[in-house]
Symmetry: C2
Subunit: 353 residues, 2 copies
């Protein structure tokens, strides 16, 4: 619990491409909101450089050792997008830094809320974040020219803790409804385990209604405007969570509008879920990149470490400026205003609050 | 090629639940359209009973040997929905009959068209149908109480032939656009192979534009009303195909509206993509089940074996009756008319054509 800490250390990881530019703006906003607490020594920011694709490629590590050590000295982390090497491009076959960080810091719960108030949509996804199709990362086996194998791994503990977290949240929040999403009719061993555990856990939550659907049907159900608002808390193995949350975010305005919380027992990491947009950097337009998604992630971070009120004020300012942003075409794509100007405007809005 | 055959044998497999009821109606419609050819001995129907969950459970086989033998005597198959055993329910851990049939008859291409004319959506999905996450079926490994593993398998040949089929179709149809969907940033070995092969094949089709996206982002892109009609031919590994086609069908009116062609070098199987609805049978309402989806599949079958004109006439009648059906609430759910009455009405509509 953060209340018992003398000092909360917030790591700030810029990442690749536009990452350092937008992360910098999110840090400014956090510093603005936490000014007093920084002065009192309650909060400290620690900028961690070097989690770049060039550096990772040089070390041939998804997260170089010295950076991992730095990360482990923080209590919570705000992370910009990191470039993931693609099969066949110029980088070595290293794992995504995102995926590696989730595993190394045991951030087992990827929690992604999606809200569309006009439609009564209030979804919260609990995506398992450390195993499943992601467990062995780059370590599939290319048996020979003709044959390739990848592995999906589920453990009892890994499945248990994410499902438990979803049921706990459903109960605590009063949503009282959990939907378990698997493909247990085909991926029978790992997803079968996941579903069995869900059945067991559900017995301890008589007040929480629950159902289960296969991922294929679930992607269709989210499209169904008449019925989709019935879903509340959803819990899914890693890959299905990856897929379904991107679809879901689109109803809210796109992945650019969604922040993502990666939570573990010891650490927590908050990130934007869009990419590093290397093209913007190449074209010299990085300073125009829209920082609103990572600022939303910063808001989730504030809430997580106990600054509920500040998180709320930031959220309100973001909602106001988001509309403003749309109206005045302040987005990076149109070069209307820089990320720094957007952050300035946002801070003024908070100040006036 | 079917033109060179003396006689085309059409296998009709009822399956489970409402399957035999709706398949019967589809067979009536086919017999009506092919009356002359049946008389001349050009076409023969062969009803294959016993592909039921009870029988499969008794034999502990996804497809009992004697039924498989019968299936192999047919040239094309019309198949009703079959119940897939669920982890933990009363059935033994056998594979889905669908999945087994695709593998046993080597039906490597699952082709699913989705059209929304008002929106200019004209998608056609080429789903790899025999390997990927489906390769080993029930044969994951439950290492111990704590650990479960499933396997994803891709072969060069398996990936090659489905990607080639997609590019061929894109070229032949004049669509000239292929989108390759993988998760090669995480499932690096098998999806990496798939993407590499796509890159190679694309070189032989200079006139076909192509791009590639990850499955998570792709589910979001299909939601984007402004841009989704840009997609034409899509080709995907098995599991992503399963997921994305269900989402896509929803824009067209739901899985109930989509037929599915499972094509191989030697055999072809056509099916509805909805389930067996055991509850309707239990409640004595099976005769009210809506047969329009399997009749659509029957239309794809007609087209496939060379009866293009008859397929077209059936399609037109279905479109007319589909609207009528909606208006007069003829669907099974509402017990407005039986499946047989719907088929009667449909045949009258064709006759009047
Ligand atoms: C970049 C990629 C490896 C990552 C994932 O697959 O988890 C991303 O899609 C996400 O959802 O955070
Ligand atoms: C029933 C199930 C095994 C099947 C699949 O996963 O392929 C179905 O969803 C489909 O798309 O035909």
């Amino acid at each position: 619990d953060y209340d018992n800490l003398d000092k909360i250390i917030i790591g700030v990881v810029g990442g690749d491409g536009i990452g350092p530019f937008i992360t910098k703006q999110a840090q400014r906003v956090l510093e603005f909101l936490l000014k007093e607490d920084v002065k009192k020594g309650r909060v400290e920011f620690k900028v961690i450089d070097g989690l770049t694709i060039e550096n990772r490629a040089k070390c041939k590590q998804a997260i170089p050792d010295d950076i991992l050590e730095e990360l482990k000295k923080c209590h919570v982390i705000l992370k910009g997008p990191t470039t993931t090497p693609r099969a066949g491009d110029q980088w070595p076959n290293i794992e995504s830094a995102n995926v590696a960080m989730r595993k190394e810091l045991d951030l087992f719960a990827n929690v992604r809320p999606v809200k569309v108030p006009e439609e009564n949509i209030d979804w919260i996804f609990f995506r398992e974040n450390t195993e499943g199709a992601y467990a062995l990362g780059s370590d599939g086996i290319r048996v020979n020219d003709d044959l390739a194998v990848d592995f999906t791994v589920a453990t009892y503990e890994g499945s248990y803790r994410i499902i438990k977290a979803a049921f706990d949240y459903a109960k605590k929040s009063g949503m009282n409804k959990v939907t378990v999403v698997t493909k247990a009719n085909v991926v029978k061993t790992t997803d079968g385990l996941f579903l069995d555990i869900a059945k067991d856990i559900s017995k301890d939550y008589p007040e929480v209604e629950w159902d289960d659907w296969y991922i294929d049907i679930m992607t269709a159900k989210l499209v169904d405007e008449k019925r989709r608002s019935q879903f509340k808390v959803m819990v899914l193995p890693n890959l299905y969570g990856d897929i379904l949350t991107d679809e879901a975010a689109e109803f809210q305005g796109g992945v650019g509008t969604a922040g993502s919380a990666n939570l573990g027992k010891k650490y927590a990491m908050f990130e934007a879920i869009h990419g590093s947009a290397p093209r913007m950097v190449k074209e010299g337009r990085a300073k125009y990149a829209d920082p609103s998604s990572i600022i939303r992630a910063a808001g989730m971070l504030l809430d997580h470490i106990g600054y509920t009120d500040k998180a709320h004020r930031l959220q309100m300012a973001l909602d106001i400026c988001g509309d403003y942003e749309k109206k005045l075409v302040l987005t990076g794509r149109d070069n209307g205003a820089t990320g720094a100007e957007f952050a300035d405007y946002l801070m003024e809005t908070i100040r006036d609050d």
